[in-house]
């Protein structure tokens, strides 16, 4: 079998999962080892004093009587038994107290593969969707078959401090102020899938940021991740610590925002409402953002060149209906999405460039 995802550094916001994390806090993925699939757990009618595990396929030769085996039922219940006897595809445990028949589940041979470990490659993904390995680590599983890895340090290595925005486009992805990454796992000294790349988690995202104690959602950037959700209150925040930033006319100005994967293929617009000294609306405006800059921490420029009676403006982002043609399709290759995730060595799938 393969590794199964148990826990990811995600945050639920009003029922929508956000995958953005501050890079200067632990970013932990948890997986569970699965050595072999179970066809059936039952008490054999011939002798109900023990439990019988019928496996899919042959049981590895390393498995022997007297060893411990962990059985994980489909509902998550866990049993640890001592193996009484082993045949080609059946394990007889020495514990006969459990009753009932259960279909499915998996086992971990706790003693048969003592040198088992998992190798994880942390892959950064750039704007051209190229995977670049930025680090590798090895972890053994704990007594419950759980492998826990923290990729915080490698994400921090991708954070840069330079201000290299030229303030000449409406929005631009700023590499180094955030980014995308994926983790590829391989099992070693296991019954199967030795050295085979596995990707139980879809692509995740990080920002060059640190959260404070008692911040809502803790180390997750969920507070700042836009989602297409009319009932969400409050909506996502910009990445500014000013309550009301100041635009000094004649000097550069930008706001940072997270252009999240939750807005798949929707046209995002920058909306502005301009106010005079008395708070009355002078005018409003709308402009399309560059969709090719998504999946990153973006800089956003305001319209500028306001008439002299405009004293303050409100700026926000809106998302329209999904675009079905005229734009190239790029998903974030979640295992639940319609596109299959490419392996790190494969280029992503692109639709042909749209004709204008």
């Amino acid at each position: 079998m393969s590794l199964i995802a148990i826990n990811a550094p995600d945050q639920d916001v009003n029922g929508i999962t956000t995958k953005w994390r501050a890079a200067f806090h632990p970013v932990i993925f948890e997986l569970r080892r699965q050595d072999q699939a179970v066809q059936l757990k039952q008490k054999p009618p011939v002798d109900p004093s023990y439990v019988q595990l019928v496996m899919f396929g042959a049981i590895p030769s390393e498995v022997a009587a007297g060893q411990k085996v962990m059985y994980i039922q489909p509902n998550g219940e866990i049993y640890i038994w001592t193996i009484g006897a082993v045949t080609s595809n059946v394990i007889y445990t020495s514990d006969g107290t459990i009753s009932g028949t259960v279909v499915g589940g998996s086992v971990i041979y706790l003693d048969a593969f003592p040198k088992y470990y998992v190798e994880a490659d942390i892959m950064a993904i750039d704007t051209s969707n190229s995977y670049v390995k930025i680090g590798t680590l090895r972890k053994k599983s704990d007594v419950n078959g759980i492998i826990s890895i923290n990729v915080m340090e490698w994400l921090q290595s991708q954070c840069t401090q330079e201000n290299d925005f030229n303030y000449n486009v409406i929005n631009k992805a700023m590499i180094g102020e955030g980014g995308r990454y994926s983790v590829v796992f391989r099992e070693y000294n296991s019954p199967a899938f030795n050295g085979v790349n596995q990707q139980p988690f879809s692509i995740r995202y990080f920002t060059n940021s640190a959260r404070q104690i008692q911040d809502k959602f803790g180390a997750s950037m969920a507070e700042h991740v836009p989602t297409y959700d009319a009932s969400r209150d409050p909506q996502a925040k910009f990445l500014s610590v000013f309550n009301k930033p100041t635009y000094f006319v004649g000097y550069p100005f930008s706001l940072n925002f997270i252009y999240s994967e939750n807005l798949t293929n929707r046209q995002i617009t920058r909306e502005e409402e301009q106010f005079d000294l008395n708070g009355g609306t002078v005018s409003t405006s709308s402009a399309n953002l560059d969709m090719t800059q998504r999946f990153f921490n973006n800089r956003l420029m305001i319209e500028q060149d306001y008439p002299s009676n405009v004293k303050e403006i409100d700026v926000w982002l809106e998302a329209g209906l999904p675009k079905t043609k005229g734009v190239w399709f790029q998903s974030d290759w979640s295992l639940t999405d319609f596109n299959e995730p490419p392996s790190p060595s494969e280029p992503p799938i692109k639709a042909p460039n749209p004709t204008k």
Partner: protein, 155 residues
Amino acid sequence: MAQRITEKKRIKINRECVKNPVFVTWLNTLGGREQWLFHTVQTEGLTTEKEETFEPYQVDLEESRGQIFDLSVFAQPQLILYTVIDHEDLEGLKSIIYSLRVEILMNADTWEADGFLRWQMYRPERGSWKILNTDEIRSEIEITLNNPYINNIEA
């Protein structure tokens, strides 16, 4: 139908013509970048320290040019910025003090015509800061930035 996906951020527009502008941007802790225009007056300073010296034995006192020879000196220019701000801006502005990257725009007068921005990194001086008195509505802020140090020769 289009739907709002972010907060409505209120931005103030400042059109003041100022003397001695110093435009600063810095990285905040959220992964975003802030900006502020200091103006009117700044104080330029210079600190020298960490000198290494050598004092040779005086063989010929009559011909000697001196007693102590400098081998190296570290020279650190500084720029002290001042501003008076409303308390609603204080939370944002104080983040410059602990930012890992503070940059000053060196071609502030010509950046649009030049077509590029020339930034230079400055480092906020470390220390204790009085930020505000909670019974006031405005605060006077003084921020000391260390310029890039002067590359010096060594004996």
